[in-house]
């Protein structure tokens, strides 16, 4: 009985330690996320959208030039 309780207690402690380790905030998570965010805003990253819109899109001269946009 005592042995069973001891095994369960040890297993519980190990589980708690493992969960705490897995769920702890990683030191570099913020840095990685911020770096990714900034990289996604770089001019090189934006080039694809700019190139996609500029050559293909020409607004209509008649109506759109008189309409404003928000």
């Amino acid at each position: 009985m005592t042995v069973t309780i001891a095994i369960v207690a040890v297993a519980l402690i190990i589980a708690i330690v493992v969960i705490a380790y897995v769920r702890r905030p990683r030191q570099d998570a913020g840095v990685t996320s911020f770096r990714r965010h900034i990289d996604a805003l770089s001019p090189e990253s934006r080039r694809a959208v700019m190139d996609r819109v500029r050559p293909s899109y020409e607004p209509d001269a008649d109506v759109d030039s008189q309409e404003t946009t928000d």
Binding site: S33, R36, H37, I38, D39, A40, L41, S42, P43, S45, R46, A48, V49, M50, R52, V53, R54, S56, Y57, P59, D60, V63, D64, S65, Q66, E67, T68, T69, D70
Partner: protein
Amino acid sequence: MARDLAIDLGTANTLVYMKGRGIVLNEPSVIALNRQTGEVLATGREAWQMIGRTPGYIVAVRPLRGGAITDFEITERMIRLLLQRVGVSRFTRPKVVICVPSAITEVERRAVTDAARRAGAADAQLIEQPMAAAIGADLPIDEPVGNMVIDIGGGTSETAVISLGGIVALEAVRVGSFDIDAAIQAYVRREHGIAIGERTAEEVKVAIGSADPADDENQAEVRGRDLMSGLPKTVVLTPEEIRLAIDDVISSITSSVVRCLSKAPPELAQDFLVRGMYLVGGGGLLRGLAQRIERETQVPVKMSTMPLEAVVMGAGHCIEHYDALKNMFMGARR
């Protein structure tokens, strides 16, 4: 599987960017309905041409005012029809990023996301217009420098200082191009005694409207209805008259820019003197506006290369890099 979309849901125009394709739709935010049956008769450009020219049973309306939804049901129907036009069906539900003015309330925000979800979007995220405009105007917002963008739309004018991918200072007023049109309508009614429509006022603004005097100015003939006799009448308007008519609106916009400048940290404020401020949005196309803002703030003002499309291009970039940029969405930061 539907391609994800970015939508600039403007008071004046709605633009849709499709992931991997570019801008696929640019239409006025107008819907025409049968007043008796509630049936949709036209949307976009076709509905815009009906404004002020409809028989009694048809109503052509703009369901957004000041960047916010004024009629939820009509907006939802308009978004649904626009999404259908770009290939969205009940079986293909895309993720959608929608640009909204930063000044809208929590309730108004929820109205936009609910309208988009009910119109067929699997997920709807919101992004502030000045942030999207700065991305679309190709400003170096990834650097630790002050970038200032002034977005003048149909119903709102927003000024933002952006650095390192985030908004540092923001100032927004619910004043835009439609207020300029309304000021022209009111002036013509008051000073010349004739009533003109919304579209005529807009045509006057485009033809001779200006915020600052210029060398090559012309007069414009305007036709309307005489308020006394009820008969059609023509009057000649001068650019000086229009400047006087719209001065309150322009002052409101420039004051908001000044307030935003005064909120900016000093380290960033010095960048504006070198880099200037960028003007985007249809309202920014008003003649002399850049010069007027420049004169009142003593900071150079530059026009964005694609002022009408900058906002949707910025949102389009966010949909292309959805995971990396999801921290920019309005819900993510609040």
